[in-house]
């Protein structure tokens, strides 16, 4: 019998309230070319789909139009139903009479007329649809994990355990990230390194994980299942295969006063260094800006001073002539786990974030004994610069009153960050507890606005800090602080007891905002993913697709997407691993055949399409046109995302999007 089948959905009250679906079906029944038109309460339900299948089989329909919700919701559903009925799924189109009609109009008559018009238009369009075959592409079953913090480590291990190869790239000389710098973690007060280092070692030893520390991803090209990553392995000036991690070079190095980044500048390291004793890999790196020999070379000197590390090394592993190595790897999926950095209250803010302000009222970071959370972690760490003793940076004395200020930068639209950094309420309670335990006559005072303790065991932890560990919690933000004698004076207000508070503290710890890394935007561009209004990497959907990005095959794990604590970062990493393993478990990658096609004969080779294509999907090919050769465009169906920009911009009208040809579109317009 043939013809087009039309199915009008009431969607319960959603459509039925504003649109008279019965009339729509009636009207369509009269339309030439429509051989079947019915309405039904819920087309997406099993009985609804059965109606479709039945009609297709009974009437031998050529094509189907479902007038219902947005294709975003149910196009997949109905196309599957088509396939189940033995028809090519691309012969089914949806007319959106919900989001585009019933949800936005009140007048029933007008809405019904519009629904009829929309459905008629779609019927005219679908008559020009062709059967299209899903495109299948091969998958490279190797994952690239960018970032070796706890999230990257977890993702790498989970993917490797599933049997797939992982390439873990970390920019620092050692993996571990911020978690390796923490003293103890909330709410269990586990020693951070004690729980992390076994995982770090597992990563280094796992047969399926290739660890590239002190390396960075320079470029990522390609598409899901078929990426090519260009990675720069930075020169440590140490030959990794020969080094056995004995540490003799570190001891002999005469340059010993470089502020150690791992210790937040409070401890010193040598020019050839390992960032912390439990580093993985435990291979030293030469800091070329601190090393005497490299500095001489940079000055243009021909002399080669020092070299004590070479003398000390029993394995001839130092190589001053080592240079960066660029490698390329084929990758099927990318996990971004690059973490966060902390906001600094200085007057000079990073130029890539022009909206940020510093805190002049807190001294712009120049007041001695005013430190941030990471500094405190190093003070509290048994392996830190003070051996775990809480001592003031200015004079090394034990502070008897420590003020902890929450929300420094966070929840502060005036300073450019309106969001909550999520982890600070908890780590401040932890800091107050650790301080109270270590200094028995010490008084922790916490200045807060709210206390957000939503995780498992978190609320109980904070209550213990207040009730058992004598932390004094004052609800009120500090207006200003300054140095008064050898103390830091804070002007605050207790909003609960309605009294002004002027506190002379020995030390102040600021809970500064969790921010995206300053190079996040640059990395996003390299990976072709987006950032959100605060600069964090953007997820595909905040509720339902939190670990994916809008770029297929690139996933997000950990604090690089939003402020996040350790349990949630680990959970997210495992979730990402699930996505990656799910991708790799397929035989071939299937993708929609909505891709552009160039009619090579008509192409004039202007390559406007190449300039316009956001996905780099246009290739140059040579066409032999009756003996004369010329360069024309060709669309790579793997990279093409079906946006249609090339079709719009093509001068000679030789590019068309399968499923959105000019014919189909004109038919739809004329059918209105």
């Amino acid at each position: 019998m043939g013809g087009v089948g039309v199915f009008v959905c009431h969607c319960g009250e959603n459509i039925g309230k504003s649109v008279d679906c019965v009339r729509v079906a009636e009207a369509l029944r009269q339309h030439p070319g429509v051989s079947h038109a019915v309405d039904y309460k819920y087309m997406c339900s099993e009985p609804g789909q059965a109606l479709m299948r039945q009609a297709i089989q009974e009437k031998g329909l050529d094509a189907v139009v479902v007038a219902a919700c947005s294709p975003h919701m149910h196009e997949k559903t109905f196309r599957k139903a088509m396939a189940a009925a033995g028809m090519n799924p691309f012969l089914c189109e949806m007319a959106n009479i919900r989001e585009h009609c019933s949800w936005i109009h009140d007048d029933r008559e007008e809405a019904t007329q519009k629904a009829i018009a929309l459905t008629t238009s779609t019927v005219e369009r679908v008559r020009h649809n062709r059967a299209l075959e899903t495109i299948r592409i091969p998958i490279e079953r190797r994952a690239l994990v960018i970032g070796g913090g706890v999230a990257g480590i977890q993702a790498a291990l989970d993917i490797a355990e599933a049997g797939y190869e992982v390439l873990l790239v970390e920019r620092q000389p050692s993996i571990g990230g911020h978690m390796s710098a923490l003293s103890e973690t909330f709410p269990t007060l586990d020693c951070s390194q004690c729980i992390l280092t076994p995982r770090m070692v597992e990563v280094a030893q796992h047969p399926k994980i290739r660890l590239l520390a002190y390396a960075e991803v320079e470029e990522l090209s390609g598409y899901v299942g078929n990426f090519v990553a260009t990675i720069r392995r930075k020169a440590r000036s140490v030959i990794a295969e020969r080094c056995n991690g004995c540490g003799a070079c570190l001891e002999r190095c005469p340059v010993k006063k470089i502020p150690n980044e791992f210790e937040q500048g409070m401890g010193k390291r040598s020019a050839i260094y390992v960032p912390f004793p439990q580093a993985v890999p435990n291979i030293p790196t030469i800091d070329r800006e601190g090393c005497l020999r490299f500095k001489a070379r940079a000055r243009g000197s021909t002399k080669e001073p020092c070299g004590k590390c070479v003398e000390a090394c029993g394995r001839d592993a130092i190589d001053f002539d080592q240079s960066d190595e660029i490698i390329t790897e084929k990758i099927g999926a990318v996990v971004v786990a690059t973490g966060y950095e902390l906001y600094r209250i200085a007057q000079d803010q990073p130029p890539e974030s022009p909206q940020l302000q510093g805190y002049g009222e807190y001294g712009y970071g120049e007041v001695p004994d005013v430190i941030d959370g990471l500094h405190f972690e190093r003070l509290a760490s048994a392996s830190g610069p003070t051996g775990g003793k809480i001592l003031r940076p200015s004079d090394g004395r034990e502070p008897k009153t420590v003020a902890f200020l929450q929300c420094i930068g966070s929840r502060d639209p005036a300073k450019g960050m309106a969001y909550c950094s999520k982890i600070c309420c908890m780590y401040v309670a932890k800091h107050a507890t650790l301080y109270a335990h270590k200094v028995h006559d010490g008084q922790p005072v916490v200045f807060y606005m709210d206390v957000r303790a939503g995780g498992k065991g978190y609320e109980e932890f904070v209550r213990r800090t207040i009730v058992e560990d004598r932390a004094q919690y004052i609800r009120g933000r500090v207006s200003r602080l300054y140095r008064a004698g050898d103390k830091v004076r804070l002007h605050a207000f207790d909003t609960l007891s309605a009294e002004p508070v002027i506190l002379d503290a020995d030390m102040v710890v600021l809970a500064t905002a969790v921010r995206p890394r300053s190079d996040a935007r640059a990395l996003a561009q390299r990976l072709q993913i987006s950032t959100d209004e605060n600069g964090f990497f953007r997820e595909a959907h905040p509720k339902l697709r939190p670990v994916e990005t809008n770029t297929a095959g690139v996933f997000l794990a950990g604090a690089c997407q939003a402020p996040r604590d350790i349990p949630d970062s680990v959970a997210m990493a495992s979730a990402v691993a699930g996505k990656v393993v799910g991708l790799f478990a397929k035989e071939m990658l299937e993708r929609e055949p909505i891709v552009a096609m160039v009619q090579a004969q008509l192409c004039i080779g202007c390559f406007n399409c190449e300039r316009a294509c956001p996905y780099g999907a246009i290739e140059h090919v040579t066409l032999d046109d009756h003996g004369a050769t010329r360069e024309v465009a060709r669309v790579n169906p793997g990279k093409c995302m079906g946006c249609g920009t090339c079709q719009a911009i093509c001068r000679s009208k030789c590019v068309e999007l399968e499923g959105y040809t000019d014919e189909q579109i004109f038919a739809a317009i004329m059918g209105l």
Binding site: Q347, G360, Y364, R480
Partner: protein, 307 residues
């Protein structure tokens, strides 16, 4: 001579007479001719803005309109409070067209809100090189506490060229005179503003904290850019000592007096004997310092070659 529009304010020739006596000669030495706005009227100060917003904008707007008619694009208001009222009026009218319209209707004068207002510290900073060049008797390390008070730095959108929490403009001017600005904590704390009569107790309490901190930081004098601040810290300083052991007094100098001293002007000519807290000790210490300019480099080199 460079000409600049000038809004003196009601106290300039009376209770802030020292400011008048010192600022005009300093400006003249810098090659600036001040042109007082003809028939200017009071900016309304605090009393207008606590009574009605429209009045508090209309009264300054009259003066801005006069300045505009005189062809000035910028006017200098040496009193920080007058500056604030004029600049706030200017900004409010720029941001709120409905308000500007109402003011225009009240004024009966053509007015395009095109005049900008500048305060004393921003003005002197823009002439920092000339100030440095005109110093003949440097203040040779005299310790001065720079007191901004409120209205030279707040609101930030109005008093905009210096940082509202860590300002440096007054320190840079003081440094140009070779005096030493001290590091202290009360530079931005309010002196009590216009409450000198109505809440004298508050003014004394606030002033005491300011003067005590300047003293603790080793300041030999406190520098201000506002007649109200001067009044609160100078005239009321004796009362701050009531009920406690008297502390050494800290004279309160206008920034123009400081610059004038460095230019070699006599203290009396700068109004230094009109203060309530005597400036005599300060001036005597200053006089005893060797205040000759250092030898020039060429002179030194010649000596070397000869020797």
């Amino acid at each position: 001579m460079k000409r600049v529009g000038f809004y003196p304010g009601c106290t300039f020739r009376s209770t802030a007479k020292e400011y008048d006596m010192s600022l005009l000669p300093v400006l003249e030495r810098l090659g600036i001719e001040v042109v007082e706005l003809p028939d200017w009227s009071c900016c309304g100060a605090t009393s207008a803005h606590v009574t009605q917003e429209l009045l508090s904008v209309a009264l300054p707007a009259r003066n801005l309109a006069i300045a505009e008619a005189q062809g000035f694009d910028t006017i200098l208001a040496p009193c920080a409070a007058c500056f604030s009222r004029l600049a706030v009026a200017q900004r409010k009218m720029a941001e709120r067209p409905a308000l500007a319209q109402r003011v225009q209707e009240i004024l009966d004068r053509p007015f395009g809100n095109s005049v900008k207002v500048i305060n004393i510290t921003d003005f002197l900073i823009s002439h920092l090189t000339e100030i440095g060049a005109s110093v003949t008797t440097p203040l040779q390390g005299m310790k001065l506490a720079c007191y901004y008070g409120c209205l030279l730095v707040r609101p930030h959108g109005v008093a905009h060229s210096d940082d509202p929490e860590v300002p440096t403009s007054m320190e840079r001017i003081v440094a140009a005179t070779k005096a030493t600005p001290v590091k202290w904590n009360m530079a931005l704390e309010c002196c009590g503003g216009g409450m000198s009569f109505a809440r004298t107790g508050s003014v004394i309490r606030l002033g005491r904290a300011i003067v005590d901190d300047a003293r603790a930081a080793g300041a030999q004098a406190l520098v201000v850019g506002c007649p109200m601040c001067h009044n609160n810290l100078d005239l009321r300083q004796k009362a701050m000592e009531k009920g406690r052991e008297t502390k050494p007094p800290i004279p309160i100098l206008f920034i123009s007096q400081v610059v004038g001293l460095a230019m070699g002007m006599a203290p009396k000519s700068l109004g230094a004997n009109l203060h309530f807290v005597s400036t005599r000790d300060f001036m005597e210490t200053l006089a005893r310092l060797d205040r000759a300019l250092p030898e020039t480099a060429t002179h030194k080199a010649t000596n070397k070659e000869v020797g």
